[in-house]
Every structure is written in structure tokens, then in C-alpha cells.
Symmetry: C2
Subunit: 471 residues, 2 copies
Amino acid sequence: MNKIFLATSLALLMGLSSGFSQATEVFSEEDLAAVAQLRERGLQGSGGFDVVEELTTLVGARLAGSPEDAKAVAWAQAYLTEAGFDRVWLEPVTFPTWHRNKEEAKITSPIEREMVTLALGFSPPTPAGGVEAQVVMLDDYDALEAVDASVVEGKIIFIRNRMERARDGSGYGPAVRARSLGARIAAQKGAVAYVIRSIGTSTNRFAHTGAQRFDVGVRSLPAVAISNPDADQLERVMALGEPVSLHIEVDAEFVEAYTSHNVIAEITGAKYPDEVVAIGAHLDSWDVGTGALDDGAGIGIVTEAGRLIKALDQRPDRSIHIIHFAAEEIGLWGGRAWAEKNKDRMNLIQVGAESDFGAGPIYSMRAKVSEEAKPVIRAIHEQLSPLGIAFDGWGAYGGPDFRPAAAYGLAAIDLRQDGRNYFDYHHTENDTLDKIDPQHMVQNATAYAILAWLSAQSPVKFGSGPDLIEE
Amino acid sequence: MNKIFLATSLALLMGLSSGFSQATEVFSEEDLAAVAQLRERGLQGSGGFDVVEELTTLVGARLAGSPEDAKAVAWAQAYLTEAGFDRVWLEPVTFPTWHRNKEEAKITSPIEREMVTLALGFSPPTPAGGVEAQVVMLDDYDALEAVDASVVEGKIIFIRNRMERARDGSGYGPAVRARSLGARIAAQKGAVAYVIRSIGTSTNRFAHTGAQRFDVGVRSLPAVAISNPDADQLERVMALGEPVSLHIEVDAEFVEAYTSHNVIAEITGAKYPDEVVAIGAHLDSWDVGTGALDDGAGIGIVTEAGRLIKALDQRPDRSIHIIHFAAEEIGLWGGRAWAEKNKDRMNLIQVGAESDFGAGPIYSMRAKVSEEAKPVIRAIHEQLSPLGIAFDGWGAYGGPDFRPAAAYGLAAIDLRQDGRNYFDYHHTENDTLDKIDPQHMVQNATAYAILAWLSAQSPVKFGSGPDLIEE
């Protein structure tokens, strides 16, 4: 039976239903036999742990625009070529960047205490020797927006709010505004430096770095995060009731433009080579730790998914792209470049799905696709369900590097990972290989392989294009 | 009834039995009413968390011989005086010490990678600019003893063994030999520097410092510990099969003699003021973190125990000493000084018990006492049992600072804490206040209060003196 006819009929049939479907009515026997093979081999495979092991061992941290960025790109190109994909190529990505030389934060009065700190991305330097001033503590970003300039003028601002732990990482968004937007607000109000409690869930003594929004010509302040135990200490010292002074020193440099590359490996489609299933992760990391969870794990997961599909006897109908994105951390630059490059052929991109939330197990799937494609998504989910993956509804963004393509209507699938512990390590010195459970990567890689394979074999397109653009 | 007669009879009666006893047959109604009060107030109290909070907030890390050591002694003297103990005094303790200026460890070939590191206590400095050499990896201390000098001459030795996690901390002893004794063996065999995997159970990226055995005139080597994730990385790099080189730099200074003080607070005994129940903890800490678990927690626990007893309507029969020992970390100097000072009056020391294993709950009690005192110990245990404390047999050492007094036959009691997580933090930057569960301190302080109280009220002496000296 013609797969496209079948799926279209199913879609019509199920328009008003709850969406029941069976993979056997959507996919051919051969395609499902391949799924069985992917599942079996995937679950016996490395999950891509060997990939992240090699990347973090040989390259380590790889901040976009650093010498290690170039090493990582060369490594990825060589690794994917060696792995035998049909084509491997680089696409240039140009962006502004930044690097730290050093940072220090200490309490100078009424007691003296060094604090564990990291400058936030794009922090301007302090004058040599640093700045010292009395500190004003504020509860959160909203309090910063509300505070009168007279209260903070000439002072160092400290924002004490702490992110909440949650499986889906939902504590990050509310807390991270203090990091991404706070320093420029503090600058407007006449403060002299900006300090935040680390945006992380751990009580270990690591500071959490990360990007601040950066726009040329907008004035900001030297900005650092202090570790959670040091933030606790600062709060205790403030509770003594005397004026508290801090000394903050940052030496860092802004870099106007650097060109890195998205690295793309292709398994060329047998029937529709121009149509593309895109799975990805980002190759860059912050400059501390070794970027094992963020996002070495994702690089391993999608690379292994590609290897599993390549090893099948069958070729996919559509092409499958394994994308190692550049410069995600400092502004989604790889994702932006990819969106720009593909905006006029978005209808040829079947779907985008990025793995960028560490190495926790996938617990659910959600999708943004056309109505017509929904029964296919149900059928794909049916094949993922044995891996412990629930269906989570319609609406997805595909991960940070596919978000820029949302503006052009990219169909997207999210395989949602348990991120309960992710923000214990994220953007810290402590994001190292030992934090990864290889068994969880095995589940992830197997799921991405099945997802990519069935997306490539789908009887219908998922609907990327103007219809999927959200207002 | 005369308590001494009763207990003696009981002891005779129970010489051949399994040791059944009842507190009501050993202690007076008044003494047991006081226990009930200690238990009730103790469990509603702070557990001494307020004490360790103040110490770590105001003083922080306090390496023996550092300016913070003097601050800690002044703090303790003021704090104990303010708390209203009958007498508070200082006893001088003189020792050699050491301080770090900086340390660095990196892999220089075949890849470059900074490692998180701490110099080990008493490490000599490297020449300015450090030393660089090929590394030889050995499994453990035994392998170091066995290795032929020709294998390690001119090399940097790396010992890779890792301590095992255990409730009673029993993984520490076997692993720590590599730290305390390794560098001098490595020096004898002609190596140029000495590196160990951190003696700790955590996979967080903290290095673990600690003392090395130090003897004037014995040659040693610059010695550092690297964090467990960095040790993993070094092992992975070595597994690549190429020669691996490290660069090690240590700047540190030896200090020939410094005088600090044991700080002692007394609740003076009503009947036998010259007889002393000694509970203690050590006031010094390593120079990283804030010494919250090691041993701020112990300082809080025994200080709170003293406060609870002081608040009773009754006075103890014997004196109770709350001892804040000096310079434990770098060689048990406070404990040695206390033993020397008391060696000729050991028969007047009822018992020694130190809290120095973090803030985990106490799960068992063991004792080294005379035969005659064993029924009293059983009766004391009966009163501790409602706190979840099992009896663990005969044989105890009283904690590190009472160990030197073992040579003079000190009777000792161990209240054994669950130390499963202790070596995740011990001697690292990460030993901070937030690692303490105040509820566990409450159980600890209540147990020490009951133990000290009943030891002071015991109808018999516990037997300190020549009879308890072990060969």
C-alpha cells in the first residue's frame, strides 16, 4: 500500500480522535525491521560515550572563538569523516566573542574572605586593581528592576535568588534573567559592579558562568557569579548588620569577530536526497570544566545515532544530517547561521531535533508538526515508547540551535531529558566526563536513531514552512 | 544505696555474663532525671550549629600557625567565656608548620590540560618555574614501595589508587598512606615530584590536601593531589599510549615553630573537682574551605553538650572539660600537648571522647575502660540507645586528639558517626557550612551531653592509667 495515501487517510480519520495510530499502518515492514535493529544495536552500543570521551579528553573545554574551538572543529571533521558518513563538510559561522583572563571576588569588610567566582560571559573588565564598594543585596531580577537608583549608585549589587531544581529544568528560566540581563540594568542605575548567586542547583563550591546579552554600544558592568556556598556566606555576613564591602576584579577581553564552523555529516537519502532530517548538538562549550554534559553528551548521542543508522543495510529515504553546531553558548550563532542558510528551503527540512540537556534519560517526546503529520508522530512515539518515553503533546522547539529556524517554520521534535541534576554541573569547572552515566547515553542515542530513521522514512512531510511559523 | 558499692557488685556479677545492666541500678534518680532533661533540651536545641556557623562565618579556614589560627583561639576563648562556663583558659601548644603560596599541575604532553590541584601539607617548593618530566603511573603505595628506582628516576610519580566509600571511613587508612608517606619514598628512588589522586570519595572537581609525615632532615619531594576527575583525565591520557609529561609547581614555606593554644572550658565538679571528663574537638582546620565539617561541627557539638550540662540545675560530680584542640591537622599537636600535660595525673582523667568525623549521625558507641567500669558503660549506652546508637564493643581510641594519651592509658569512648559522605568534603575547598545537616548535630550534641554527664556521675572511675596501656 502506498504509504503517503495511508498516512493521509489516517490523518483525516484521526483529525477529531485522540490520535490513535499504529506504526504498522504508517511504516513498512522493512522500516520497522530496521527500527528493531536500531533498538537492539543501540542498546548494546556505546551510546556515543566513546565520542564524548574522546572529545573531552583530547580537546577539553572549547569556548567559541578560542584556540580549542578550532581544535574541536578539526576533531569533529576528522572524527565524522573517519566514521564513514557519506559527506562531511563545514559551514562558516561568524560571531563576536569574549575571553576571560582572570576574576576575583572577595569580602573585604567587616571580615575578609575570598569567594569562588567566575566572570559572566561578555563582562567588561574592571580597572586594573579592581573595584571596591559597599554591597547592596537584592532578592531577584524584579527587585533590581524596581530598585531606585539612589539606593545602588556607587555600590556593588548582589542578587541573591537561587534557581529551583526541576526535572524539566524549568527553574532555570526565571533565575537566569538575573544573569543575562542584570548587569546592564545595574549599569543604568549607577552601580559599579554586579554580582549574582550562581544560577545552579548544586551546593558544591563552583561558580556558574554563562552568557549575558550583549549589544554593541550598550553599557554594562563588570559582572561575576559567586558559588552557592559563597553566596550563603555573603548573606550570613550581611545578616551581621554592619555595612559589607566587596572587592571585584575582572580581566577579560571582547573579540569583535571570529569565524568558526558548523560541522555537518550526511547520510544521503536514497529517494529524496534533498530532504533533510536534522539532528544536532553543539560542539562549543564554556571555558571551564570540559563541556562533558554541555554539550559533549549531545555530540556523542547524535553522532552515535548517525552511526547506528549508517550501519543499517537500508539507506534512509531522506538525507539525515548530524550537525555539530558552533558557538551556541555565546548566542546561538551556529543555529542562527543554519537557519539563515536554510530559510529559503525550509520546506525541505523534515524536522530539527537537538540534544542539549546533558546525559539524563529521555522521559518524553513532544512535537511541532503539521496536522497531517501527527499520526506519523504518534507512530514514531509508539516505537520510542519501549525506551520509557511518554508522549507529551504538540508544541516543541527542537532545542536551542533549532530555535532560530522556528522563525521560518521549522518542524521540531523535543526528546525531553531528565535534567534534575543537570544544573548541578552546567557551566562550571565540574562539568567533566565522570558526571555522565553511559547507560543513559545508550537510551538517548537509541531514541535519536529511531526518531531520525522514522522521520526519514515518514510517508508525509512534517510541514516545515510558513504554516508552522508561530506569531 | 551507695553507687560505688552497687556498680562494683554489678561488675563482679556480670564478669561472665553478656553484660546486662540497667541504668536505674547504676545511676541515681536525680542523675537520670537530668539525662531526661538533657535529652529533651538537647533535641530541641541548636545542636551547636550556631557555634559552627559563627566560627566559619567570622573566622573561616584556620590552618594551624596562620593568622586565622590566632583569630580562632581568640574567638573560642571569648565564645566559651561568654557562654558562662566556670573557667576558660588557654594551654600553649608549639609545633612546626607550613603554608602554601601557590600550586599548579598540568599535563603538558601529548595534550595540554590544567588540573585542579592542592599541594600536600609540608610539601617543599619546586624551583621557581616548576619541574617538568615524564610521568610514571603506579597503582598504589605498595607499588611505590616495590618499584625499582631505575623506573622512576628523574620522573614524576603518579599514584592512582582511590579510596573506597564506607560508613566508618575505613577506606581512608589504606589510601592515605600514599599521601602521608609516599613523597619521601619517591624522593629516595630519585623521582622529581610526586602526584596522587585525591584521597576522597567525591567525583567533584576538588583536590584533597592533608598532612604528610614530616621529620627534620628527611628529604622529600614537591607533592600535590589532583582532583578525582583530573586523575581520571590523566589516566585516560596515559591510556593513549604515548609518553605523558606533567608540569608541577609548588610554592610553599616551612615554619619552624609556632605557638597556638588548646582552649579549655570547665564545668567544675561538685564532688571531685580534680577528676575530669574530657570531651573535645579540634579548632584548627586545613587552609581551604571553611573547616565546617572538619572540625567546626565537632566544636559545635561538644560546646553545645557543655552548654546543655551547664544549664542543668545539678552540678556534675566530676569536672567536665570542653577542649578545643590546637593543630590537629598537621600532627595532633594539641592532643600531644594535652597528653604530656596530663600524663602524670592520667588516673584523674575519667575519659576522653573527641568529635572529629563531621556532622553525620552517631550510629554506635564503643569504649576502652577497666572491667569494673563496663557495667557503667552499658548503663550509659542504655541512655544513648533512644538516640539510635548501638553498642559496638570494647576497644576505642577516643578520637585523634586523645590518641597520644593512649600511651598513658587514657580511658576512651568513641561515639561513631556515619561518615559515608565525610570524605566527599574533607580537606577540600568544598568543606563549607551548607554541608552540615543541623538535625544530625542535634543528635550528636545530645549524645555527647548525656555521655559526659553520666561519665561525670559514674559510681566508678573508668580506669585511666597504666592498666589501660596497650602494648
